[in-house]
């Protein structure tokens, strides 16, 4: 694990965000299965935190991020969105900081420079991210875009068209393939017949790099190097971060198509435990780790409480809001 490039305070911060994301999503599992959520079925990124936190950490606030739907929790937390605001979406409460969507991954906020999925069409977001990079380049704003998507998504036509366009215009964008080895019940090897997804970059003539996606620091370093290339005008990079989908595809998926042994193997590779070991090796006292863990748990508990105290977001609210937007558009 390369750690030289990050200060201890950064490492601690990364650890804190990963943990927060984990605890947040574990709480969602609990709330969902006890019938307390009012949202689109959660599709969680438990076990994949190293990819989103590693990829999106350390950018400038002006840089745009466009996260894969699975992992959006962590991405928003990297952008310092209070957990309460995210929790509101799951609990069907009014968020003050976010648009009132019904799913975190479909949420976009141009103040925080976070572009979520705009439709549920996988791959569509890659094109929009490429467009943001085009906008940045045309406007000479110096912004870089980091966009992530799943392994299964790389089989979509949009992936191909978008990466090609980014190559042709040498856009300031980094593509991160969050290869969690499954797309619903399809193993990546059945859908992608070239061993490494990073090889798909060959088709566009820009670098493709495979990295251990459970090693947050490796992900971070690789993406940061690609960000620098992008900022220097050298164009896109495809980073494949190999991780594993510890969660079922969605919380409604009984996940019967995978062997328990496989999950067990990957549980041992947990990216959070791994970073914990690094921190310990760097001399962080156990106490401080426990402290961070406790703080994260507290923050999530508080987020639930605060969210619950917010007014319900009813379908009527959305109807009213959208009707107002409709009138603005057409009148």
């Amino acid at each position: 694990m390369k750690t030289e490039h990050l200060s201890l305070s950064d490492l601690t911060n990364i650890y804190r965000i990963m943990l927060l994301s984990r605890k947040f999503e574990e709480k969602i599992v609990e709330l969902f299965h006890s019938g307390k959520t009012r949202c689109f079925t959660p599709h969680l990124g438990i076990g994949e935190e190293a990819v989103s936190v590693g990829a999106f950490y350390g950018l400038s606030k002006q840089d745009l991020i466009s996260p894969h739907y699975r992992g959006a929790t962590a991405a928003w937390l990297v952008r310092k969105l209070p957990a309460t605001e995210l929790m509101c979406i799951y609990l069907g409460k009014k968020s003050t900081g976010l648009a009132n969507t019904m799913a975190v991954q479909w949420t976009t906020n141009m103040t925080l420079n976070v572009i979520g999925m705009a439709s549920s069409i996988l791959g569509g977001g890659i094109e929009i991210a490429v467009g943001a990079a085009l906008g940045a380049k045309l406007g000479k704003t110096g912004q870089v875009v980091v966009n992530s998507f799943g392994d299964g998504t790389t089989n979509r036509g949009n992936f191909h068209e978008a990466l090609n366009l980014a190559a042709v215009f040498r856009l300031p964008i980094v593509f991160v393939c969050q290869n969690n080895q499954w797309a619903m019940n399809m193993r990546v090897a059945k859908a992608v017949t070239v061993g490494k997804i990073s090889k798909r970059a060959v088709a566009y003539g820009f670098p493709g790099i495979t990295v251990d996606g459970n090693d947050v620091l490796a992900v971070h370093q690789t993406v940061q190097e690609a960000v620098q290339r992008a900022r220097d005008g050298l164009g896109p990079t495809l980073v494949e971060a190999v991780t594993y989908r510890m969660s079922p595809h969605s919380e409604r998926d009984p996940d019967q198509y995978r062997a328990e042994a496989e999950r067990r193997k990957w549980r041992r590779k947990c990216p959070i435990l791994r970073l914990e070991a690094t921190l310990k090796a760097k001399g962080m006292p156990q106490e401080e780790l426990l402290n961070i863990q406790q703080n994260a748990a507290d923050e999530i508990a508080k987020a639930v409480d605060e969210a619950l105290s917010r007014p319900d977001l009813t379908p009527e609210d959305r109807l009213q809001q959208w009707s107002a937007i409709y009138r603005e558009i057409y009148i």
Binding site: F40, T41, W106, R156, M184, N185, Y257, W322
Partner: protein
Amino acid sequence: MAELTFREALRQALREEMRRDPNVYLVGIAIGSYRRGGVFGVTEGLLEEFGEERVIETPISEGAIIGSSIGAAMLGKRPVAEIMDAEFLVTCFHQLVYEASQMRFFTSGEAKVPLVVRTAFGATVNAMPIQQQSPESWFLQSPGLKVVMPSTPADAKGLLKAAIRDDNPVLFFEHKKLYDIRGPVPDGDFVIPLGRAEVKREGRDVTVIATAWMVHEVLEAARRLGSRGIELEVVDLRSILPIDKKTILESVKKTRKVVIAHEAKKTGGVGAEVSALIAEEAFEFLDAPIIRVAGPDLPMPFVPSSEDIVQAVESLLRA
């Protein structure tokens, strides 16, 4: 006659047709080992019975799913493709509206495309606004296609079997809220011709024309109004391409008043076409404006209820 759910009726149709004709195969994303056979469980047990050569799971590439199904169909195969969610029809729109639908015309009838595309549509609770689409009217401009929207388990079975046996591409819309409803379903070789509406309830006062889930909202409205002596005639379109003009016009001539109900947004929905047909061909029989009860012109899902239908009928009778 068995009592089956809509889901079971569909599955029975698929199973029977796959047993009957070895050219029939299923293709789509996550239709085999995922959950109980697909996201909505329709294809449960079919992978086990027919194997991977006839229940074919693909990577996430709907364009290639439909495009390749067209090619295979031209060679005599009879693919039944599943597009998990009607929202995803946009990703194979080109293949449906240009290639599948026009092939027979452009080959002077020589090449046929016996393809069925099943897709789940419609609004449910707590689903993402985006995955709630009723995009059926997009396909009205595609002669060559047939578009089916069943509302009961029996119709589901009979129409799906007809769709699979049809030599033309058929889009088969399955409303998500219907999967769990139960009803009697004739055993064995029960086939309902495509393109025929059905009067699901007779009545003399107002004709209400509806599709899929809305048929049930309309029947509920009919029960409520019936108790007050207002008799709705409920016409279930079942197919929207072609539209069964004859059944519609007969009913309109009888009641002289029409309400059209669908879940899709009002502007540009199927209701517009049905209304225009009536205004063109049965104007002299009409006693009142043709009312559409439909979703508002907003991103989905805000869909009408039986109450909206009751109100529409009342306003019509007051006018």
